[in-house]
């Protein structure tokens, strides 16, 4: 191999190895970046008027007077939208059969009227004939779908409005019907009234998502349907849905080639403006109106929702925060650490101070390593088989998943972590400390308690914190031993609880509702990751201080 090749290989290798570390950092950023970015929007976001109303109703926190004022202001703009929809709905929903019936009735009343007014002879016959022909013309026109034909027919009928025979008679109502019908037809295309109604229903549904139920609507039993878009991003998504109709169309991948029937085609989303569906109708300006006044109707305001971390949640996390989850995680974690610390520290102390290198100690060490290697889901199985099915009934308690079982399971899981960390901490105490104490005549036990342990305590504490972070993030062992996805806040350690870890799982693979609130999905997992990273940060700082102190001596 030539010198140049060797040199090149050397450089290339350095570059490659450097790349591996860059890849690691990029991976970390890729994993954490989007999660934290999206998760932070659970706490810091533009909350709308609906959000403030929800907070007032569910959590009893709001400035009532200013909120009422805001609601009134917003109501003005909303009323305009609703009025427009109502009037359009009335216009579209022409009931041709009813009009037909009404025309018949009008004619009958009119002929009765003629009799009552003692109109007789030729005048009677003429008036009746004219009325009948007008009625027939009206009824025939009702069957037509042609806009122009209807308009000319109605104009035709309306030329007789001033006829002497119909002055001050009930037949005038036929004319008013004709006029109304003419105006309606001018506004909308009757051929499309069905389509209009369908589209209108969609528009109304989107508006309900955006603005919530209309004033006067009954209170919906589902809390999440009682409010409109509580967040500005949700409102904008609604607005987008209102403005555009998305259609999935088959389009060829790459440049189109009409000759080739086997060309791979893919479904592509194409947007059409919804406004065009209502072109020329009185509803068309509604879209512009909504777009122009959406801020006035929803009044978005930058909201720092710190109560996210203490709030109860509603409708599978559609509203509210992660309070019970945080509480459950803390309780399980702290309990399991309380169980494991005595065992971990004593085992570590024994292994460092008392044990030599005999077969007994070797077996213990092997068991610690084995325990560290057992898959976490097997700990879950063990928790079910031992703590729930065996230990709890043996102690006379209910054999069901509970906080106690979960924390005991996690305590077993974290035992090796705890032992190793404490062992390292105790081992790193300088020999001179111990020798000094022994030289002063203290016993081995006393030396350990008063010299070694205090010196090792920060190191042990680091281990405790790392165990805490490990336990807080574990999901598989608590799946069947104490975590639930829904339920009330536990009253004792014999109840199951919600936890952040299980909640994150549940939100990620969960139902349709969870998919509607991505900020809450990400919020949950970011709360968990944040909690764990904070614990790790504390551990790192603590370790750095211990390192400095021990080095200083």
């Amino acid at each position: 191999m030539g010198q140049r090749t060797r040199h090149l290989l050397d450089k290339a290798f350095t570059l490659l190895a450097g790349t591996s570390v860059v890849v690691l950092s990029v991976v970390l950023l890729l994993v954490l970046g989007p999660m934290i970015w999206k998760g932070s929007s659970a706490v810091l976001f533009y909350g709308t008027l609906e959000f403030r109303e929800m907070q007032r109703d569910l959590f009893d926190r709001a400035d009532n007077e200013s909120l009422l004022q805001e609601t009134q202001d917003a109501e003005q703009y909303r009323a305009d939208i609703y009025d427009r929809i109502e009037s359009f709905k009335k216009a579209v929903a022409v009931d041709l059969a009813a009009m037909d019936e009404q025309a018949k009735e009008v004619y009958q009343t009119y002929s009765q009227e003629l009799k009552d007014n003692n109109v007789t002879g030729a005048a009677y016959t003429q008036a009746r004939r004219l009325a009948r022909s007008l009625r027939n013309q009206f009824q025939d026109t009702l069957e037509s779908k042609d806009r122009n034909a209807i308009q000319s027919a109605m104009d035709d009928i309306l030329t007789h409005e001033r006829d002497d025979a119909f002055q001050d008679t009930s037949f005038q109502s036929l004319f008013s019907m004709a006029r109304e019908f003419r105006d309606t037809v001018a506004k909308i295309d009757l051929n499309q009234s069905h389509m209009y109604l369908e589209e209108l229903a969609k528009v109304e549904a989107i508006l309900a998502d955006m603005l919530g139920p209309r004033p006067g609507d009954p209170v919906h039993p589902l809390i999440r349907l009682r409010y409109g878009a509580t967040r500005w991003d949700q409102a904008q998504a609604c607005l987008k849905r209102l403005n555009w109709i998305t259609v999935w169309e088959e389009k060829p991948l790459g440049p189109a080639d009409m000759e080739d029937p086997n060309q791979v085609r893919a479904l592509v989303a194409v947007n059409y403006p919804r406004k065009e569906r209502f072109a020329g109708t009185e509803l068309e300006p509604l879209f512009g109106n909504v777009n122009a006044h959406i801020k006035d109707m929803l009044r978005p305001r930058l909201t720092f929702y710190w109560q996210y971390f203490i709030d109860e949640s509603f409708n599978s996390h559609y509203f509210g925060g992660v309070g019970p989850e945080i509480l459950g995680t803390l309780v399980i974690t702290v309990l399991s650490i309380l169980f494991v610390v005595p065992f971990g520290v004593i085992a570590a102390a024994y292994l460092v101070e008392c044990a030599g290198d005999n077969w007994g100690v070797r077996i213990i060490r092997m068991c610690i390593n084995t325990l560290a290697g057992v898959p976490s889901i097997v700990f879950g199985l063990f928790g079910v088989a031992f703590f729930i099915m065996f230990l709890l009934p043996a102690l006379g308690m209910d054999s069901k998943a509970c906080i106690l079982a979960a924390s005991l399971t996690l305590a077993v899981l974290t035992l090796p972590v705890m032992i190793r960390a404490s062992e390292e901490a105790i081992r790193s105490v300088p020999r001179s400390y111990k020798e000094g104490s022994l030289a002063l005549g203290a016993s081995g036990f006393r030396t350990f308690m008063t010299v070694t342990l205090p010196a090792a305590l920060p190191g042990i504490l680091t281990g405790v914190i790392l165990s805490l972070s490990r336990v807080a993030g574990e999901t598989a062992p608590v799946l069947f031993t104490g975590a639930v996805s829904m339920g009330s806040i536990p009253k004792s350690v014999l109840d199951p609880t919600r936890t952040l870890s299980y909640g994150s799982y549940d939100m990620a693979v969960g139902d349709r509702v969870a998919m509607m609130v991505p900020h809450n999905q990400y919020g949950m997992v970011v709360t968990l990751v944040g909690l764990i990273l904070c614990l790790n940060l504390v551990a790192v700082i603590l370790r750095a201080r211990v390192f400095k102190k021990l080095k200083g001596h």
């Binding site: 040199h7 290989l9 050397d10 290339a12 290798f13 350095t14 190895a17 591996s20 570390v21 890849v23 690691l24 991976v27 994993v31 954490l32 999660m35 893919a266 065992f343 004593i346 085992a347 102390a349 024994y350 101070e353 008392c354 077996i363 213990i364 068991c367 390593n369 325990l371 290697g373 057992v374 898959p375 976490s376 889901i377 097997v378 879950g380 199985l381 063990f382 088989a385 099915m389 077993v412 035992l415 081995g444 036990f445 993030g473 574990e474 999901t475 598989a476 799946l479 069947f480 870890s501 994150s504 799982y505 990620a508 693979v509 999905q521 968990l528 990751v529 764990i532 990273l533 790790n536």
Partner: protein, 324 residues
């Protein structure tokens, strides 16, 4: 503490100092107490031994229902896993294959990357760069598995579907990529330990012979540290094979052996995911319940085996170091 050889006794007028070494003759209660204390300490130290024994005992005990009914080998020789059908089948071959599949795929990503990073950290960079990179690895290790699973489902899966046009975003490749990220910290830290503990002499001898850094690392350092690196790989493997949440969420959970076998874009189902997914819906004491514990037993046996192998290699690495 070996105090028996110390025979100093400080004598002074009024104060009676206690003897440094306890003998039953001088202080019977103290002697008994100290022995008793040591016994209690020993028992508490043995807690991990008890834990391991209890785990094996109870997991095996619950699985006996299944093994009595189905035998030991019948279940791992077929791959039809239909515990819920009218004629339930409990063939675990596909589950085992799924576990092995994602684990090996994960190692294919993480071993080159991890060994490279370990060598890079121990041999190629200054202390300052290490101080920056180490926390990155620690954070990667600290992120809980459910968060990785969340990432796999919410970010990776849609991305794969959009950009690679896979039929499903939750597939073996997705699970393998995430698992490799999770195995990396383990591999890097153990491998780096073994590479950096080799000492300067080997490297300096190689440099003195005119080898470049690349040659030194590849022909001297890595071969010399191979035991530690193998141990690192096995520990990473254990992390991957025992991982539950990520594979449950990301692998698609279709109980099948992909065909063709190299097609990573298909869904697979692992042993851990099966336990996690079905445990909640079984009845205590049923065959299905026992079958899930049986899967747990196989998992235990696999990890125990891997653990023993890794200990063997770690011991060998230590011994080799002692000789050097």
């Amino acid at each position: 503490m070996d105090n028996s050889t110390v025979n100093l006794r400080v004598k002074s007028g009024a104060v009676q100092y206690r003897p440094l070494a306890l003998t039953p003759g001088q202080d019977l209660t103290g002697y008994v107490l100290s022995k008793l204390g040591k016994a209690i300490l020993f028992l508490m130290t043995c807690s991990s031994v008890f834990a391991v024994l209890l785990i094996f005992f109870f997991v095996i005990r619950e699985s006996l229902i299944f093994f009595r009914d189905q035998g030991l080998w019948a279940s791992v020789s077929t791959n039809a896993w239909y515990p819920k059908s009218e004629d339930p089948r409990y063939g675990m071959l596909a589950l085992l294959a799924g576990s092995v599949y994602v684990t090996l795929a994960a190692l294919a990503f993480s071993v080159p990357l991890g060994v490279m990073a370990a060598v890079f950290l121990s041999d190629l960079v200054s202390f300052k760069v290490r101080a920056v990179v180490k926390p990155v690895i620690e954070i990667l290790a600290a992120i809980p598995s459910v968060a990785y699973g969340f990432f796999a489902v919410m970010v990776m899966a849609p991305w794969m579907q959009d950009h690679w046009h896979f039929s499903t975003g939750t597939n073996a490749l997705n699970a393998a990529i995430i698992l490799s990220i999770m195995a990396l910290p383990t591999i890097i830290s153990v491998a780096e330990d073994s590479v950096s503990s080799l000492g300067r002499e080997l490297r300096e001898a190689s440099y003195a012979l005119g080898a470049t850094r690349f040659e030194t690392l590849f022909k001297v350092v890595i071969p010399a540290a191979h035991s530690g690196i193998i141990a690192a790989i096995i520990l990473g493997m254990m992390r991957a094979i025992g991982e539950t949440m990520v594979v449950w969420m990301a692998s698609g959970n279709a109980s099948q052996i992909p065909s063709p076998w190299w097609d990573l874009s298909q869904s697979v189902r692992t042993m851990t995911a099966t336990i996690a997914g079905e445990m909640g819906e079984t009845e205590h004491g049923s065959i299905h319940y026992g079958a899930l514990f049986a899967v747990g037993v196989y998992l235990l046996v696999i990890t125990l085996g891997l653990n023993l192998i890794s200990e063997f290699f770690l011991a060998r690495a230590k011994k080799a170091l002692g000789k050097a």
